[in-house]
Every structure is written in structure tokens, then in C-alpha cells.
Amino acid sequence: MPRSQGCAYSAAVFALMSAGCATFPEDAFRLSESALEMREIQVRTYEDVTEVQILAASSAVLQDLGYAIDEVEKELGVLSASKRADASNSAEVAGKIALDVADCVLTLFLGCENDSYKSSKDVQDIEMTLVVLPDLKQDGVYRVRLTMQRIVWAKNGTVYEQETISDAAVYQTFFDRLSKSVFLEKEGV
């Protein structure tokens, strides 16, 4: 093998080896600048409730939303739940199928790849944790903190995206439902 060819091969092998290494974010264990803001979005306080009422109301909301409860640890106020839901977007699928068709027409059906639609969104796995704890200073006051994340899968089984949910509107919708659920629980409905 000529020397230059050998070098090119070595370079390719090296590139292949290093491509898989994602870099570790140095600030992963430091509070981010938005940590306080996120806490405000994720925390609500409920007054004049008992521990049983707030926990029952919380798990009832999770059930209303179709979540399966994976973990409950009353001593630490932890409730974790998950669900798999549809994530497909018909506009995205239609767009990618149109691209596949265009590709086939342009190549006169010779060697066209008609599978780019498989890279579109399919289902998503959502996980959330609710931590329900009594306020340290006032009786009958409970603080609920919610954190959510999800993995969106593509139709070909690869990860389309994974993220921590930080959209305030999503949290607000959940807490609106929880407030209603707390009311129903207190009224014994």
C-alpha cells in the first residue's frame, strides 16, 4: 500500500473512532442562570390541604392524563410517571414523502432513495416527576414541584430528539388541572 494511501486510511479510522465521542458539558452539575426561573415555572403551593388529599389529587391528574405511575415514595414525596404518546406530525410526513417521490422522479426511478419519511417523528416517551412536600414553616401548606422530559423517536427507531421540557405553558396546563383536582379531592368528588 503506498504511504499516502496508508495515511488516508489511518485518518479515516481515527475520524471514525473519534466521531462517537460526544463531549461532556462542563456545567452539567452547576446551577444554570435559568435555574431560578425554571423553579418558579415548576413549583406551585397549595394551602389548606392534607398530605393524603394533595397526593391523591396529584396521582389522579396523572391518571387523567393517561400516565402510568412508575414510582411512589411517600416519605420523600416523590411520584414518577411516564407515558408513550403519538408524536407524528402529518405535515412533516407528507413533506418527506413528497421529497422521496421527487427524488425518484428526478433519478427516473434509478437508485432513488424513498425512505427519508422514515426519519420523521413517530412516538414520544414522556417522563415526569412530581415532588410533593409539606412547607417547612407552615402547616397545611404543600409545595409541588414538577419536572418533565421526553424522548421523541423517529419512524426508523432512532432518537429524533431528547429534551427537558422547559415550556412554561406545559407546566401551567398541568398545574391548572392539579388545582381542579385538589378542589375535587377536598369536596370528596
Partner: protein
């Protein structure tokens, strides 16, 4: 040419699904030291609650929490995935030892700086909880 052979061998060994990974790990003493911190308190509940609060502040979702075994596992999903397990044990000296160990995607996190950051964040939460400030 020799370099080429070595590189090829290296890549090929990487491809085999070795069972060595099952029990692979770093130096036991060093790892424990960097992953453990002791706190002068016997308030197990307070410490565990502080750990949960810290993990939530850092963007983790709690996968498992067990008060009796004092073990909490959590996952953070961004463009990457970090899984962490935090345990609390009583020491003879009337202190509680908190140990955290984490993985970044497929690799263990063995950089002392990451654990220092984690414990620095936990210290703040612990101070607030143990002094009954929310």
C-alpha cells in the same frame, strides 16, 4: 504500515461486545473519595429531600427514590443523557455520607470537578433545608 495494523486491531477490539465492561471500573479508593462527601447531621430525611431538590434544580427527573434504602436515581435528558445514583449512609461518627455516581451517555463520569460541582450545589440546598428555609 505498523501504525495501520495497530489502528485496525484497536478498532476491531472495540467492535467486539466484550464482557469486561460488566465489571470494569476505576480505582475503588480514588473513586469513592471523589464521589463521597460527609455532612455533620443525622437528619436523613432532610438530606434525602435536599438531594431530590438539587437534582430537580439541575434538570433531572427522578427515576427511583427509596427512603429506607436512602437511594435516589435520576436522569437528565438534553442533547446527551446523564444518569446519576445518590446514596446516603450513616457513619459511626454521627455523620451522614452522601455518595453520588454518574454516567454520561455510555461512559462513567470520573472527573473530580463534576462531583465537586454537584456537592457544591447540594451544599446550598442542604443549608436551606436544614435551616428550614424553602
Amino acid at each position: 504500515m505498523r501504525v495501520l495494523l495497530v489502528l485496525t486491531l484497536f478498532v476491531l477490539t472495540g467492535c467486539a461486545a466484550s464482557t469486561a465492561a460488566i465489571t470494569a471500573g476505576g480505582s475503588q479508593v480514588e473513586l469513592r473519595q471523589m464521589q463521597t462527601r460527609e455532612y455533620e447531621t443525622m437528619d436523613r430525611r432532610g438530606v434525602l429531600r435536599s438531594i431530590v431538590a438539587t437534582l430537580q434544580d439541575l434538570g433531572f427527573v427522578i427515576d427511583k427514590a427509596d427512603f429506607d434504602l436512602a437511594t435516589i436515581s435520576a436522569t437528565k435528558l438534553q442533547k446527551y443523557e446523564i444518569r446519576i445514583t445518590v446514596t446516603v449512609r450513616e457513619r459511626d461518627s454521627g455523620r451522614l455520607a452522601v455518595r453520588a455516581n454518574a454516567r454520561f451517555n455510555e461512559d462513567p463520569i470520573e472527573d473530580p470537578k463534576s462531583y465537586q460541582d454537584f456537592f457544591a450545589t447540594l451544599d446550598k440546598a442542604m443549608f436551606l433545608t436544614l435551616h428550614k428555609v424553602d
